[in-house]
């Protein structure tokens, strides 16, 4: 089973590597959205420091919406998804592999990029570290929960907008704990509570969502 997981991850990473432009599009979207906020709000550093965690997190949610649509769509269109459903192994493992690969090419780059963007908002160095840690724990949750939405809207008309409608409300806990961690740190409170809740969320969704997504995929392919 571990071998299957590795096969799927390697395959999806290889595919992402051969289609590098897609990965970069999501990353640039994230960078642009975050950079637009100071232009809208004004260059007051005090305000910017205050809104930075929320801005980065909301931009991360939107960027994840953008990349989620592609999670199963290509495999659905060319018939590979049928083969995955008929593989003599648990579909949830394949799904988990795809989610992990998706996170590595969409969530992880955001987490790595975020401290750099935090500098635009004049966040102190330790706060940047907290922001990075929160995104590192939180972006996999986005990929995991989003996978359910991606599977449910597979091949449905207006799928992209519908996906956002379904998934964004479910992202709220991740948003609250993720942005809250940085805000707490800036306010002089230990971000540990937030981060551990985020970790709990990650464990819970990591255990539950692959099965739910697998079920949703089977329904979508009927």
């Amino acid at each position: 089973m571990g071998k299957l997981l590795l096969t799927v991850i390697r395959r999806d990473l290889l595919l992402a590597y051969r289609r590098r432009a897609d990965v970069l599009t999501t990353l640039f979207f994230f960078v642009i959205v975050v950079s637009l906020f100071p232009l809208g709000v004004g260059p007051e550093m005090k305000t910017l420091r205050l809104i930075a965690p929320g801005v980065v997190w909301v931009a991360a949610l939107l960027a994840s919406m953008l990349s989620l649509q592609r999670l199963f769509a290509a495999d659905y269109q060319d018939g590979t998804l049928e083969q995955m459903l008929l593989a003599p192994q648990p579909l949830a493992v394949i799904v988990l592999g795809k989610i992990i690969a998706h996170w590595m090419v969409s969530g992880l780059p955001l987490a790595l990029m975020a401290p750099l963007l935090g500098l635009q908002f004049d966040l102190p160095p330790e706060a940047l570290l907290v922001l990075f840690a929160a995104l590192l724990l939180g972006t996999p949750v986005l990929s995991l929960i989003g996978a359910i939405g991606a599977a449910l809207t597979l091949g449905v008309r207006g799928g992209g907008v519908l996906l956002s409608l379904l998934v964004l409300p479910l992202y709220i806990p991740a948003l609250i704990f993720g942005a809250g961690a940085v805000e707490a740190y800036i306010a002089g409170v230990s971000p540990e509570g937030h981060l551990s809740l985020l970790a709990a969320l990650l464990i819970f969704s990591g255990l539950a969502t692959p099965w739910v997504t697998a079920l949703a995929l089977r329904i979508a392919m009927e």
Binding site: L152, G159, L165, P169, L170, P173, I219, E222
Partner: protein, 246 residues
């Protein structure tokens, strides 16, 4: 018992039975509303601290209860439809969603009216209000998803998964919002403070809630009947129903 359940889970038997029950539930809803309104306005005393404004709770609280109950009942029906593959339960789930969304909306609006006086703003990011707003989003998501999928069987099952995922998420969302809320501004004032509530106030609220129940059942049953007609339009029993009417 089991045989009966299966018998009534067939649309052909359910349709006429529901048709007979609907007027009963509408009637009960009307009677209970009259009693409830009488209790709310003429029996329940003026609140010592809030004055007359508190009388909004007689719709606000039942609506908020209904919004949550209906979501749970809807998720329950949908889940039952997913597991047992019974057509009727999925239809009931879809019939409940618009009514649930309506009550959520009512709870939000009446909450805003009350909030304007209590908090001085129409909207406050209070944990209850925020969760209620998110619940509205969940209802809208469920209705959009089931409407967007053309194949009914897939729509039923996909909707069921979404409703169940939402039901698991609602408490998580509620507690996270509550936690967030206390961090940012401390505990908020609540519309109901149980200790000071007069018995008649509570009674009025309960009667109004019961009326809302009856109304929801009546509306959901009649909507379920329409869904049945539409889905089974080629079957013999629908043709019979239509012939009788015309």
């Amino acid at each position: 018992m089991a045989i009966n359940l299966f018998k009534f889970s067939s649309p052909a038997t359910f349709y006429p039975v529901a048709g007979k029950l609907i007027p009963v539930f509408y009637g009960l809803a009307a009677i209970l509303t009259v009693i409830g309104l009488y209790l709310s306005f003429f029996v329940a005393p003026t609140d010592a601290t809030q004055g007359e404004v508190y009388r909004i709770i007689f719709i606000h609280v039942p609506a908020a209860w209904m919004s949550m109950f209906i979501y749970l009942v809807m998720a329950g029906w949908a889940g039952l439809g997913l597991i047992l593959n019974t057509r009727l339960s999925s239809m009931m789930a879809q019939a409940l969603a618009p009514t649930g969304a309506m009550f959520t909306f009512v709870a939000l609006v009446t909450g805003a009216f009350w909030g304007k006086l209590a908090w001085g703003t129409w909207w406050d990011w209070d944990a209850r209000m925020t969760s209620e707003l998110i619940l509205l989003f969940l209802y809208i998501g469920y209705m959009s998803l089931t409407a967007a999928i053309d194949d009914v069987r897939r729509a039923d099952k996909a909707g069921a998964i979404l409703a169940l995922v939402g039901a698991v998420n609602v408490p998580i969302i509620y507690f996270s919002v509550k936690w967030w809320n206390t961090l940012h501004q401390g505990a908020s004032v609540s519309l109901i403070r149980a200790p000071s509530m007069a018995k008649t106030m509570l009674l009025g609220m309960l009667v109004m809630a019961l009326a809302a129940w009856m109304y929801s059942i009546a509306v959901a049953l009649s909507r379920a009947r329409l869904i049945m007609l539409e889905r089974e339009k080629n079957s013999a029993w629908v043709q019979d129903v239509l012939e009788k009417k015309s």
